[in-house]
Symmetry: C2
Subunit: 223 residues, 2 copies
């Protein structure tokens, strides 16, 4: 049985969970808080970051969410998520990297720092300026998603792909942390509503991170 080491608000873990959900791969969740840098975890994964996925019986440990997604794409045929021509696949991977690097750095990491880590670890109040910048950046990222969806049915082209799952993973964490204002983003909102209603997304939306409560609209299909 695969075990996914993660915490509920890790966007990279959410991306992997959405992929596994779409493909129908079973797994068990193991709670890991990377900021604790547990010795046993760092022994498994020298980066100390989440997620990893491990099959102890076969002694396989996969590290890095992009490597994990490629692995399941290669080994499980159901619902290909990095498909099409080589150029289509490059566009999917470009956009996954865009959300994993830019949207994470601009929006999700500062929200996690201010609204989760300061609360759980430092017991300090969030910094208002940092929060405002993250929310402004979230708005810019939604503009870019609107722009992409103006030209295509899905984020990276004509079909649902890993780029949609990556974007939704990061957005859902930002939304949980109250960082997203959907007003004026009709394209992005319609696309996200569609993703929210997928069976792969439901378990993520009903989960909670201790102490931190999401806004009311977070879980609603009509928000």
């Amino acid at each position: 049985m695969w075990q996914l080491f993660q915490f509920p608000l890790c966007p990279f873990s959410r991306k992997v969970r959405l992929l596994l959900g779409e493909k129908g791969v079973g797994y068990e969740l193991v709670r890991e808080s990377p900021w604790q840098r547990r010795d046993e975890y760092v022994d498994l994964n020298p980066t100390g970051r989440t997620p990893i996925i491990r099959d102890a019986a076969r002694d396989i440990t996969l590290i890095d969410s992009a490597a994990i997604c490629e692995y399941f794409e290669e080994t499980v045929d159901a619902k290909p998520m990095i498909s099409g021509t080589a150029a289509n696949r490059a566009e999917i991977r470009r956009l996954v990297a865009w959300f994993d690097e830019q949207m994470y750095a601009d929006v999700v990491a500062p929200l996690l720092d201010e609204r989760m880590k300061k609360r759980l670890i430092h017991r300090a109040p969030p910094d208002g300026g940092t929060l405002r910048n993250a929310m402004r950046a979230a708005n810019d990222h939604l503009d870019y998603i609107d722009y992409l969806l103006d030209h295509r049915s899905w984020i990276a082209g004509a079909t649902l792909s890993l780029a949609d799952l990556a974007a939704a993973a990061h957005l859902s964490v930002a939304d949980y942390l109250g960082g997203v204002d959907w007003t004026g983003h009709e394209h992005a909102k319609g696309w996200y509503a569609g993703l929210k209603s997928r069976p792969s997304f439901r378990p993520l939306l009903s989960e909670r991170m201790e102490v931190i409560t999401p806004p009311k609209h977070y879980e609603l299909l009509d928000f």
Copy 2:
């Protein structure tokens, strides 16, 4: 004809160039300094980062070094660099991500900031503390490479792979910037000497970044 937009000390561009060199793919270099955020470049690549590779005749633009490497791995059969079982491929991708994220953040980015950007852009002296930390981190990364090579012939397993190219790309930039002390790292040194002598590596080693001179040993096969 492919055009690679890059600057000589960009490690992600070096990784792509090593892959293209190994595979025998021809390309032309276009000099791009991402810190200038040229409008025409940001129009091609919203991240504004290097590298991208573009075939103007076919109007194909590939963005993000990982996506670029996967593209050429998929379209050019010669010298597979992400090969083996799915688990082998995951190990290659894990290590590419390790060097691209950890080694870049711990070693290469601070060296580029202190020894290149401060010189070229800010006309300020480097910060000694930051340089010392980067060099200490370089030593830790060499220890990890020694450890890997204690167990395997190449960084990710029994054959040369993209993980070797990624590691060498980052190390070569750190070495150019005087951040690497090879003393006591016999495994890593032997492995790097082998890579330096490959035809794919020669053109990179003979190139220079304006104003910044590498240490004497940088280009030598016997260092």
